[in-house]
């Protein structure tokens, strides 16, 4: 019994991380129809920033790093994405990929390609025993941070005027502008929030794995990308849902597959993803505005 609760906690932790990453991608995608592959590099740069800030007191270091990433995100929008705004999706996609490629190799240039060890909060890896279960404190932190961010974002989007404007822009950008919503401001805000989400993923991920490498963002952004699409393109709730779905799937497969097939677990995840897309091409949550209009 307790092993299943263990799995559920794992699923929530992994799913939460994926959900945060997916939300970062989904927010931008919803508003601009742009898939920001460089989001993985925002996470990576966050990790290396923590390395540089290691001497400082942890909360200050984390806050500084968040600010750095938010600025990076807003800057990349202004410099790299605004000129291609409104171009066809393939051009925007390749732009974000080129940016991602550039940042990855820039950091290879600066820090070398070899992975580096980093120990940001050793206390978090200490184990907590609770009612027959044993898990690292980091899991609790992950759940709390994920929950907090999701709740905060939900309140912002639901309760504030600007949040409503952003949701409107995510559904129908042109119409939002017709009503007077300022395009540039909404987009900059979306990137800023996306940066904050990337920073939080960075902290949690680095705390968990303890290593940094210039390529660490690649796998995460792919999972985030896939989660957004599976959860429902253009829907923020869908991105979160997709993240939890893929996270749960990952944990479930690694737990349930017999040992000799286990190395192939990723293949099973993707088979299921294909099946989901064949069944519901718009993703698990359908957003009306995204459907084809004749």
């Amino acid at each position: 019994m307790s092993i299943y609760i263990q799995y559920i906690i794992d699923a929530i932790t992994v799913g939460g991380l994926y959900a945060l990453a997916a939300l970062g991608i989904g927010l931008i995608f919803g508003i601009m129809r742009l898939i920001n592959f460089a989001h993985g590099e925002f996470i990576m740069v966050g990790g290396y920033s923590l390395l540089l800030l290691l001497g400082a007191w942890t909360p200050v270091a984390v806050l500084t790093m968040c600010l750095v990433i938010i600025l990076l995100a807003v800057a990349t929008e202004r410099i790299a994405f605004r000129p291609v705004r409104g171009s066809d999706p393939a051009t925007m996609l390749v732009t974000s990929f080129a940016l991602s490629f550039f940042l990855q190799h820039l950091f290879v240039l600066l820090f070398g390609a070899r992975p580096k060890g980093i120990d940001i909060a050793p206390k978090l890896m200490e184990y907590v025993v609770f009612g027959g279960l044993r898990f690292p404190k980091l899991h609790i932190v992950t759940v709390v941070v994920t929950g907090g961010l999701l709740l905060g974002l939900a309140l912002f989007l639901k309760r504030t005027d600007f949040g409503i404007q952003m949701r409107a822009a995510a559904e129908d950008f042109k119409m939002a502008r017709v009503l007077g919503v300022r395009a540039n401001l909404v987009i900059a805000a979306a990137f800023a929030i996306s940066g904050l989400l990337a920073a939080s993923v960075s902290v949690l991920f680095v705390a968990q794995t303890g290593t940094l490498s210039p390529r660490m963002g690649v796998q995460l952004v792919l999972v985030a990308f896939v989660s957004t699409i599976v959860g429902g393109m253009g829907s923020l709730v869908g991105a979160v849902l997709g993240g939890f779905f893929v996270g749960a799937l990952t944990v479930a497969l690694q737990a349930l597959l017999p040992a000799n097939i286990r190395p192939f677990w990723e293949a099973f995840v993707f088979v299921i993803i294909i099946l989901v897309l064949l069944w519901r091409p718009q993703g698990l949550l359908r957003v009306r505005a995204v459907q084809e209009r004749i």
């Binding site: 996609l93 390749v94 490629f101 290879v108 240039l109």
Partner: protein, 336 residues
Amino acid sequence: MEFTGAIRRVWPFLSLALMVVLIGVLASRGSVVIQRTVADAFVKVVMVVGLYIFVGNSGVLSFGHASFMTIAAYLSAWLTMLPRQKQMILPELWPFLAQAHVPFVPAALIAATAAAVFAFIIGIPLMRLSGLAASISTFAILAIIHTVYGNWDSMTYGQGALIGLPLHSDVWVTMVWVLITLAAAFLYQQSRFGIALRASREDEIAARAAGINVFVQRLIAFTLSAFFVAIGGVLKGHFLGTLWIADYYLEITFLSIAMLVVGGRTSLAGAVLGPLVIAALLELLRLVEVGVTIGTFRLSAPPGLRETGVALFMLSILLFKPKGLTGGREIPWPWS
């Protein structure tokens, strides 16, 4: 005058073919380094033109083509490696593969055909999807093949480097394959299949209304495209003589797409110029990385400069010429 008319009609192909032959001939007279660089560039051209057959004509981005490269490259390895080597490196390889020893050309054709058959089979469910769902599904296929081949240690040497492929991809061989791929791409895009598919690229609903079976057209292009991309994978494998599963995953996928988009996604010229320009730039920057010796001083740049430079170049092209270097046009007839 009919003769000129005929030449004019095939000019988009002829102009590119002449350019490729010129580069190939010039390279063959150069140093070994130049020959290898050009051969590598030609391999990239085969891959990107192969990709273009599907992406350029259908407008659907595929992230899965590296899976065809993987399937074909490993099959070609199994067929062309010496049985002796296979016994040592892959002792658990299936017997009929372990004993096989096929010359390069038939092996390449068999491998590419197998990849094309695979593409046809997965295309049946996937080509019904459109837009982003299609693109993600193709990526899922790549991830599946990558996981399977990457963990199938007995057959593929898993994550490690499979060595022992005979080196066949020199300037001449790769050049010939570029010409074949170009001819195939050109014939396809001039055919009624290519035209029908391009109609669906512009306006899928209108094309369906006009009676075009978009699913069938996409499937045809997908299969044909897979064949040539697979050839590219085979050529790549026989260029270095080693296969590394990581070489056929994310970086090659996105680089191919980027080279196509930078060249100009909707024209054959774009599919050729994109990889050639990027390959040239990569080589130039590699020389900068290696450095130059002036007297007793050595000036060089740190590793990573090459890719950073290429990425910056791609970004600039996308910002200033979003339709790519060719703007989606073929090479114009010079006497009009």
